[in-house]
Symmetry: C2
Subunit: 434 residues, 2 copies
């Protein structure tokens, strides 16, 4: 049996998981591939710490260039993260004709065009299954399993940290801050958890899904994003009363020529399969024009699931090397790399249903003044709950709208929030009927 040499740059959580799988499942993997996969070198600034696995110390190096410049290494696995050194290493390795495996969604989301183009020009493989949804093979589903389809909708719960926080708020009524502290204590969140809870991480992953669905890079800054930090357990309770669950959704929709792309908290019908994705689990819902509705579900992060995705990419590239082909399926799943960015529709042009929670003084006529402004802006009300109980000295008026335009909603809420009877900024959450 032949062998294929792999070099791993970055010996952190995912790097250690990758090495562990290649060791423990060596036999299964080689019987699937038909070659042995050998970890020839691992580069990390820290080559002393115990990773809980036994590695021959002679394969450790502090210099990534030992891997990039080694002509015997076929596949370079980049797992250091970030957009600085990682980019430099990946471009250098591509230049040397190496196949690349990476889990670096931030890099591909923000600098994808340059990297996809370099891989395309050099004809090297570039695989990033671990960049989205941990071990869930969703990049593969788009590149291969659903390749017969035009992708109409992608809807993802892509950030396990946020999903854990929202699940705890929903199931135990915790306040946002309490749920965050719990997530940090359990190791599910960084301290502070900024990129996870502000929508950036989910938007990175959405950018990758869009690129693979439509075959071109995405201009990351055009993806609208909003975090979960302003949500309250009260909103989650009201959502449930209306028949919805509150999730941080990443959403893309084919508009023909351009794509809707946004990350924000959203209300999902309780009987939708996405509403039942809880804790640190991720899920991606994909609708194709022929396959209809599909869903992919699993653990979105962690040493083992992410390692599983990295090794599946190593296996795919090893199968290419063994068959003597280069880029059997190009990185974005399309035969020809399109250099132009996929046009993203501005959030202002969105049409959606909305949930509003107004904090108002308990006086007659308040609802009529609010409804008047909504009506003036062509926003029609679908249902209203006006509770008697006071929250922080004011009365919540909660409503769902029919379909309205985001632009009109922004304008109306600005006017409403200026009313003297409003005691706090209005909470607005988009509703996804899916």
């Amino acid at each position: 049996m032949g062998y294929i040499n792999v070099g791993i740059i970055g010996f952190g959580t995912v790097g250690a998981g990758t090495v562990e799988i290649l060791q423990k499942n060596r036999q299964t993997i080689s019987s699937r591939v038909g070659s042995e996969i050998m970890v020839k070198n691992i580069a990390d600034l820290d080559i002393k710490s115990d990773r809980g696995i036994s590695v021959d110390p002679s394969i450790l190096t502090t210099d990534a260039l030992d891997i990039i410049n080694d002509p015997e290494i076929d596949i370079v696995v980049e797992l250091i993260g970030g957009v600085g050194k990682a980019k430099e290493y990946i471009l250098a390795a591509i230049d040397k004709g190496k196949h690349i495996v990476t889990a670096n969604k931030a890099l591909l989301a923000e600098h994808g065009k340059e990297i996809y183009q370099a891989a395309d020009e050099k004809g090297t493989g570039l695989a990033f299954e671990a960049g989205v949804g941990g071990g869930i093979p969703v990049i593969r589903a788009l590149r291969e399993g659903l390749a017969a389809n035009n992708i109409k909708i992608i809807m993802g719960i892509l950030n396990g940290t946020s999903n854990y926080i929202l699940t705890r708020m929903a199931q135990s009524g915790l306040a946002y801050g309490e749920a965050v502290r719990e997530a940090i204590a359990l190791g599910y969140a960084e301290d502070p958890p900024d990129l996870d809870v502000d929508g950036t991480d989910a938007a990175h992953k959405l950018a990758l899904l869009i690129s693979v669905a439509y075959g071109a890079p995405v201009s990351f800054d055009n993806i609208y994003r909003e975090g979960i930090d302003r949500l309250t357990p009260e909103d989650i309770r009201f959502a449930a009363e209306f028949g919805y669950s509150l999730k941080l959704l990443a959403l893309a929709r084919d508009l023909g020529g351009k794509v809707e792309a946004r990350v924000h908290p959203a209300m999902v019908p309780l009987d939708h399969i996405m509403a039942n994705v809880n804790d640190v689990y991720n899920a991606v819902y994909i609708e194709g024009d022929f396959v209809g509705q599909t869903l992919y579900y699993g653990l979105g992060a962690g040493r083992k699931p992410a390692g599983s995705a990295v090794v599946s990419d190593i296996i795919a590239l090893a199968r290419e090397i063994q068959n003597g082909v280069r880029t059997f399926i190009p990185p974005l799943g399309y035969a020809r790399f399109k250099k132009t960015y996929i046009p993203i529709q501005s959030i202002d042009s969105l049409t959606s249903e909305y949930y509003f929670r107004f904090s108002a003084v308990d006086k007659p006529g308040v609802l009529s003044r609010i409804a008047g402004i909504l009506g003036d802006n062509m926003i029609s009300i679908a249902s209203v709950i006006q509770k008697e109980r006071k929250v922080n000295g004011s009365v919540p008026i909660v409503m769902l709208t029919h379909e309205a335009r985001e632009k009109d909603v922004s304008k109306a809420l600005k006017l409403i929030d200026r009313l003297d009877v409003l005691t706090d900024k209005t909470m607005m959450i988009r509703v996804e009927e899916a």
Copy 2:
């Protein structure tokens, strides 16, 4: 742009869906593949009926051999079903060196060994994504996305007809017969619906999943199967009281050296994601040793979803042809074809939790006699519901057991059903805690 010629044998529902997708999504597909996919011929005994798509009549033939013997055809798509002619055509096409796409789970489940072996010896591709779970790319998930893992558990809702019937019984309290008639009227079930409701169809699909998970053929008759026809709305209600949903499950579990493989109605905890798979939807839950729990969900049948899977296989094989490789990934996902059947554990050796519904006369002491026999057979009771209302003149005694051995359960139920206080055969349903 080059082109790749496809011949389709069988112009029924899935055949028409396949042609429709290749026509309507021609541009998307060719931009993904880098070649045009041309339907050179379609063979069917009926070349007159309207399939709702426009096809050049000159490509229609009533003779499958026109396709099999055509040296210009690269990929033969078998969609006639059944285990007679279909087997003959596939083996003949493999012999001619054609790549094969098929949706024929019955054929592969019952005669897989011969076909896998022929494809292996000839070095041709053999793809059957449409054989399991309609458009859900679950064969691919096992062959590629989860290839780093040893597969521990596969749990599938694989028959949309049965799932529709059980959903209707659960949601509207219909009797089994009423739900079946409704399914037939809606076109979700054949009349009579035998293979769908007796577990055979799901077992065919399970055989394929097991073969791809473990890389060898399965002796189909060793898969235990039981249908849904004996279930009552009452059992579904009791299941809900205990916190479970009733599903027709196909189950495989790695026992190290052998595999548990069975299809039967089972109780699934209501908060398990499988419990929320309703109507004609299918889902496959796969647990790998590193990826953990994953789920794949979508429409399990129908012209469009099945067509989507067939075309995804055509695309995969077209990519191989274009890259000048043969069997980039072998049919079962392992480099070397294993001719020996995967050992299947007998159902008698199963250990499970059980639900029993005893139909007994309303007399004191009945429960104690039942419990005595259970105890004698090392079956311990976890909880009991003894309702006062009478059903058909007898009182249902419903219980859940702790883990017990199937062999003991069979023996105990045989003894209990002989008691003079029992008015009907005892209902036994296995409980899957997952």
